[in-house]
Symmetry: C2
Subunit: 197 residues, 2 copies
């Protein structure tokens, strides 16, 4: 079996391990083995653990994009509803996971950013793409008058992403969804509400 055919199973299996245990804590031998490759073969498939980390993040961001596509990007619905639907979907995914793993992008930002400039820069690009997608719904709401227009859409979108990431950390520690519920019930309306006329 040629080496490249093992890449995808290793990335898939490695994603599950790193999402559960963290990047530093997950060894390359365990990643290879989980993907059905010989333990010592990791570096036949990836130039370095950091190179693997970049592929891992891209693979994870495919799922982020899928979730965005069915919610935030669904322009048939009102903008605020699109944003709410997105975070509601993330909340359901978190609940299914008992809030154990959190977001891979947030986790790697906390743990891997100091050690690897490549991963840090790549995480920055993913945050940008993520904020941009939410920012489009915010801008649509600003144009429609349902979202405050005195703050740039990108700023509001960034704050939504940040509040969610922070709430995920606390949900992970508490193992309950109350911090996520509060973002949806209190923070989203407070942050996006148009100024009183």
């Amino acid at each position: 079996m040629p080496a490249h055919s093992k890449r995808r199973p290793i990335v898939e299996a490695g994603l599950a391990l790193v999402h559960r245990d963290g990047f530093a804590r997950t060894g390359v031998a365990a990643i290879a083995a989980a993907g059905g490759a010989p333990k010592g073969s990791f570096y036949n498939h990836f130039a370095s653990k950091d190179a693997f980390g970049l592929e891992l993040l891209d693979r994870y961001f495919d799922d982020v994009r899928d979730a965005l596509t069915t919610t935030v990007a669904d322009t048939a619905r009102p903008p605020v509803e699109r944003i709410r639907a997105y975070f509601e979907l993330l909340g359901e995914l978190g609940e299914r996971d008992a809030y154990a793993r959190g977001c891979l992008i947030g986790n790697l930002s906390a743990e891997a950013a100091p050690a690897s400039p490549e991963i840090r820069v790549h995480l920055g690009a993913l945050f940008e793409a993520w904020t941009l997608a939410i920012g489009e719904a915010v801008a649509d709401g600003q144009a429609a008058g349902s979202i405050r227009a005195d703050v740039p859409a990108a700023t509001l979108a960034g704050l939504l992403v940040d509040a969610w990431q922070g709430a995920l950390l606390r949900a992970k520690v508490r193992r309950d969804g109350a911090p996520l519920d509060a973002v949806l019930a209190v923070l989203v309306p407070a942050l996006l509400a148009p100024a009183a006329p």
Copy 2:
């Protein structure tokens, strides 16, 4: 020199290492050596790496308390100003650090919570204590009419902490303070504003 006299230097030096590099990535030999103890002596001082992690968090939380005491707990000032002063102080500390390390509590929530129930539970208690301290200023503001009173003070305080933690992650990845500035300029006023009469 008796073993216990080395504990404090090891915790201090270990704090610097773990804050910079993460918990999983920092080995016990390096922690002992950084504290001036023989490399192999870590387990003479701490029952386990997790036990050391708990001490590390308490040591870090001493600094959190100091920052809270001079800002959020300064009841001579108006409540919203106390809250702003606290996050402004954290922003200055972040800037001094070029946003490289972020918050140890957030970092360990992301990376260590899945692996150690003791650390996870302890992180939960620190988040509670932290939220409680900020919640007191929120409650004072609610009583004075300067902060919305239709949402529990603890919920608003939790959202402030979460938004800050998430913004710290993005600041760390970007190596700039714009996400933190946005929390102060946009999120704090939007979240705390009393309902229009």
